[in-house]
Amino acid sequence: MSLFLQSLINGILLGGIYAAYSAGFSLIFGVMGVVNLFHGEMVMLGAFITYFAFTLFHIDPFVTLPFSIVLLFVFGYLVQKVIINRVVESPPMISYILTFGIHLIVAYSALWAWSADFRTVTTGYSGMNANVHGMIIPYARLVTFGIALFVVMGLYLFLYKSETGRAIRATAQDKETARLKGVNIHHIYAVTFGIGAAITGMAGSLMSTYFIIFPQMGLPYTILAFCIVVLGGMGYVPGALWGGLILGVIQSVTATYLNAGLSGALTFILLFVMLVVRPAGIAGKGIIE
């Protein structure tokens, strides 16, 4: 029983991280219909920002969060403004290929500049755990989980309570009408992409304290973000939380009772079945074309 509880806790904590880096993917798809294939590279960039701030300037990983948020926002804003906005009216196929091209450029530039070495950010509190009735809870993961919840909620509030959020939602629902009402949709697209990138980069920074960092790490994260967002419902931001938690728990429980490799297989079988049976996601609020 305690083994089960422990793996449940591990799964929930893992799910929080999954949710943190997938929320941006869902936002970008929901508003622009762009399937962003360099999503994982934004995780990688966030992680590297923290790594360099930590090793070169000895800044605590949690203090580096604002840097990755700002830098990734600028990165996302510019990529959308300069490149993706040109094809945003074309069929979705074009946007996959375009973002895949950007994935290649970013991933290989990073490989070129920083080499394929595996790096870690090891702080004084990296190995510290809370022990609650025999259950082990790593502090770093717990904090990440808290921040992830906070971010998804904050994003939700931003979309529903602020003026910009209203413009973003209007653009997502009907871009022509939004345009008629005076929304500059290309600006909104760029801001949305920037916000998505900022959240993702922040998640990358948070994860750098307990995952290995290397330039080629992006693609698996992109594929996992796909799964999580489909589970929760494409384009429905709080769905990322559901998707992340479900996937985290399933992976952790199968890794405990069966084997770790099988949890990968199960993830994809689940994704496949989910798409066929219920493409709008667990909550049923995702976008179906």
Binding site: F29, A107, V230, L258, F272, L275
Partner: protein, 312 residues
Amino acid sequence: MPLVVTITGASILFLVLPAVGRVAGVSEYVIRFLAIIFLWIGKTASWNIVAGYTGYIDFGAVAYFGIGSYTTALLMTKPDLPFLLSMLISGLISAGIALPIGLPTLRLRGVYFGIATLAFAEAMKQIVLEFDRTAGLRFFEGPHGITLPIGPGNEFFYYAGFVIMMIVLGINSWIERSKFGYGLRAIRESELTAELCGVDTLASRMKAYAISAFFLGVIGSLEAYWLTYITPHMVFDVLITIQMVVMALLGGMGTVLGPAVGAAFLTILYELLYKDFPYTYGIIVGVIVVVVVLLMPKGIIGAFKGKLRVKS
């Protein structure tokens, strides 16, 4: 007519090249390199049958390539079947698996089809990797991979690759002008209209998907025999699918020559750059992809055709 002459001429040239080459001193390297190009054209053109004509972007095409490789590896090591028979069975098994997979996934639209096929390919990889350990058997050999019997020299693969490539290109060209192909393209342009015009859209898509899977399986089988050693990470590599997508896009999707031009171009670029500049190769391909999408979204062939049309 001139097109037929060109194709026949090129075919004869390619068919006699190894024989002439032996006399004239064309190195084994050239034969091998051309065979690699043929196989990439074959794969990209197989992918094009579904993605280019019906507009259903398959992100898991490598699954059928891998299934073909593994079927051949198992057939040639367990019951010791001869290669050509194994190759045929591999193609049929790939197509056979494509039917139950295609039936639910081809009902999905746009990006959902892409993700579902990607999930299928990744699941196949994980299953082949983990089956033995989970079931306690020695069948797929998991991450250790399977060693095939040593095959013939590069010339065999040159000819086999050439024949398969010509067949796949022939099918593409048949689709271009047959009623079946018009149906597929109608699906791409507007599925509802196609349905209203009497095209059985699901059956047409299934047929295209199974044909594509058959040839991917055959090519997977051939490449496994050539490599003589396969692991799930090699033959279910998502990068193989991505290469097909990029090659087809670069040349021009939904055309006969597009995938051939794109595949040849990218393979040559890879050969030129990868040895000396492995990292810049990735960056350059990325830049090419971005530029192609922004400046000529219909690919090299599309841009070329567009120019011709303006003149006439």
